[in-house]
């Protein structure tokens, strides 16, 4: 369970009014018994209990719309949050459960079955003489005792789908029930389009008996708001599912996006795509550097425009060469190595194993040098002629002709004076470079370590999240104690 899911469950449980779970179960039983006594018909009672549960849930949902909007709005993704929905509806842990998906040919969504090991409404049912309704004598193909509960859950999911303007709704059926003698509680979830649901209605004969059925359809067909606020649009982009994905595994999230991109655009599996580059691992780094510069230029062709001026191109060329030569002084090797490791981890399970091994064999410095080599190629394309450049900018300055006002002085004297001045200037700059390299390395290393520590502890189930969970758990416990 993700951290955000956990926190939402805790908040949901703490905010709501709580009673003993046995009182909840017995009140549920009594409501069903009253309905059954009035209708004297099991099937109709189940239908009404479902409706009552759905209406009860809808009432709360309308009060808590803002929180719900953070849940994902696609039927299959919303079921990933079944545990949260269960907790919101029931306020008790779901416990062990299994989700089984069956693909249906031609259908956009699979058929989903939820197998729940513990049911609070059926818990202990049949052991007391007040348990008068015999669910075990009911037909197998109709819902069981959890019918009202299903009404609640179905309503939460469909309200959410309507809220997110989704064109699908979920129909849940209770296939197995403890009170009917089964050993689990099993829900079958069918994802149906609004269009199909609308077609089902005319087939229902409208009579007094089917009044509730029609009302239930009305609730299911309820449409979401036509106007969306900016906040709604943001929530569509960053729903709980996506935030959770990012917190739990930022690398996995990027990996999955890249995989989807390769599948969509290249029409091939990521491994197949990366396989084209097997044995060309070094070139991949060069390509990364090359594409990096070209991508930078994509923003209005600014790099190319800047380099179209010969002087600017030369200055940029010298700066690039300077960086290429001095990055090792300024950036600690550990930092470079960490990024190299991150890259290798990123490729794991995405690229062929052989390729990942090759990348691991390359040293971090080698990889960085290859990236620079690729970037140099791109800069050449954009206007820098590296062949024209001297060893360093000082050599370039030495080549400049003497100023006009100095013409007349002895050529040798000017040459000697200029050369010495440049050499002094160059040495002073190199000295500043060396002096600055130490604090810069310290700052970079410190910042890198700080970020690394935070990321490691939040993404790999590290101590920070665990500690937050432990303390938050205690706060929620105390809050519950205070409220009790």
């Amino acid at each position: 369970m993700g951290f955000l899911t956990w926190i939402i469950k805790k908040i949901g449980k703490t905010i709501g009014r709580n009673t003993s779970s046995l009182f909840y179960a017995l009140l549920y039983r009594e409501i069903f018994k009253e309905i059954y006594e009035i209708t004297d018909n099991v099937e109709k009672s189940i239908e009404i209990m479902r409706y009552v549960g759905g209406e009860a849930s809808l009432e709360s949902l309308k009060r808590q719309t803002a929180i719900l909007k953070f849940l994902p709005g696609e039927p299959d993704r919303v079921l990933k949050y079944f545990e949260v929905i269960w907790t919101i509806v029931f306020g008790m842990p779901l416990g062990d459960y299994e989700m089984e998906e069956t693909k249906i040919e031609g259908a956009p969504y699979p058929e989903i079955r939820l197998k729940i090991k513990q049911c609070p409404v059926c818990g202990g049912y049949g052991s007391d003489k007040e348990d008068t309704v015999r669910f075990d004598k009911m037909k197998k193909d109709i819902d069981g005792m959890a019918c009202g509960f299903i009404g609640m859950i179905e309503k939460v999911i469909n309200y959410l789908l309507a809220l997110k303007n989704n064109d699908f709704r979920m129909k849940i059926k209770e296939e197995k029930c403890f009170a009917k003698g089964d050993d689990i509680l099993q829900f079958k979830c069918d994802i149906v389009s609004l269009e199909d649901l609308r077609l089902e209605i005319p087939s229902v004969e409208i009579s007094e008996d089917t009044e509730l059925q029609i009302a239930a359809y009305d609730l299911m067909l309820e449409e979401g708001p036509q106007k969306e606020s900016i906040l709604d649009k943001i929530r569509q982009k960053i729903d709980l599912d996506r935030i959770e994905e990012f917190i739990d595994g930022p690398l996995d999230s990027v990996k999955s996006r890249l995989s989807n991109l390769i599948r969509d655009k290249m029409h091939m599996e990521p491994e197949e795509f990366f396989d084209y580059f097997t044995n060309y691992e070094r070139d991949l780094f060069k390509i990364a550097g090359y594409l990096g510069v070209h991508l930078l230029n994509e923003y209005g062709g600014l790099v190319e425009k800047f380099l179209s001026n010969n002087t600017f191109a030369k200055v940029a060329g010298y700066i690039f060469k300077q960086i290429q030569e001095t990055y090792k002084i300024f950036i600690p090797l550990d930092v470079i190595d960490d990024y190299h490791q991150l890259f290798v981890e990123f490729l794991r399970n995405l690229a062929p194993e052989e390729m990942v091994e090759q990348f691991e064999l390359l040293t971090a410095i080698e990889a960085a040098d290859l990236i620079f080599e690729g970037a140099q190629g791109a800069l050449e394309d954009l206007g820098i002629n590296f062949e024209e450049l001297k060893e360093n900018i000082w050599e370039e300055l030495k080549r400049q002709p003497p100023p006009e006002d100095e013409i007349g002085l002895a050529a040798e004297e000017i040459k000697g004076k200029g050369h010495t001045l440049i050499q002094i200037f160059q040495e002073v700059l190199m000295l500043i470079n060396s002096i600055l390299s130490l604090p810069v390395r310290m700052i970079l290393a410190r910042e890198h370590e700080s970020i690394k520590t935070v990321i490691e502890s939040t993404t790999s189930g590290g101590d920070v999240l665990e500690s937050i969970k432990t303390h938050a758990d205690k706060i929620f416990e105390y809050l519950e104690e205070m409220r009790a």
């Binding site: 949901g12 449980k13 709501g16 009014r17 709580n18 009673t19 003993s20 779970s21 046995l22 009182f23 909840y24 179960a25 017995l26 009140l27 549920y28 009594e30 409501i31 018994k33 009253e34 309905i35 009035i38 009404i48 409706y51 009552v52 549960g53 209406e55 009860a56 849930s57 009432e59 709360s60 907790t87 919101i88 509806v89 029931f90 306020g91 008790m92 090991k117 513990q118 049911c119 609070p120 059926c122 818990g123 202990g124 052991s127 007391d128 007040e130 348990d131 009202g148 609640m152 403890f178 519950e480 409220r483 009790a484």
Partner: protein, 167 residues
């Protein structure tokens, strides 16, 4: 393995949906032209007490001195609610003020019967069972009287009244 009723006594559940469900049941009963809705709600409470008491019962005999604390204990264990009980043995009235009643929270303009009528049925039954468990020379029992105030009908808190019978 599924829960047993004993497991469920100490566990807590969010009561929001079930509270709402009680009012939808009342609406359903009205639609079906049921006339004794109040009595039915009290009967529900009675049945709940009969079952619940098999899994939990205060471990103290009911006397004039213990009535208040036992009532508090019952509300705390079953409804997780802190109440203020007022006992008047002269007028033979027990008044319970519950500002966080688990069955009433919102005002429903279409409703004139409070959900806590269920409690009017539950508490006297619980007291009767306790008396059977710990027989006393002087027996104190309760009889449902009325829900004087309820959040469901627009009041700021719930006030349940019971008649005290001393034998």
């Amino acid at each position: 393995m599924n829960y047993s009723r004993a497991d469920l006594v100490q566990a807590t559940s969010a009561s929001n949906q079930m509270r709402n469900a009680v009012y939808h049941l009342i609406r359903f009963m009205r639609r079906e032209k049921v006339e004794d809705i109040r009595e039915r709600l009290r009967r529900m409470g009675k049945n709940i007490a009969l079952t619940f008491s098999r899994y939990w019962l205060p471990n103290v005999p009911l006397t004039k001195e213990t009535l208040k604390s036992i009532v508090k204990d019952i509300y705390q264990t079953i409804f997780k609610s802190k109440i203020v009980p007022e006992v008047d043995f002269d007028k033979k009235i027990l008044r319970i003020t519950d500002s966080k009643c688990c069955l009433c929270k919102y005002n429903y303009p279409d409703i004139d019967i409070a959900g806590c009528e269920v409690i009017e049925g539950l508490l006297p039954t619980y007291v009767d069972i306790l008396n059977k468990q710990f027989p006393q020379r002087t027996t104190i029992s309760l009889r449902p009287s009325s829900v004087v105030k309820s959040k469901a009908v627009g009041d700021t808190h719930c006030l349940q009244r019971f008649e005290i019978i001393v034998k």
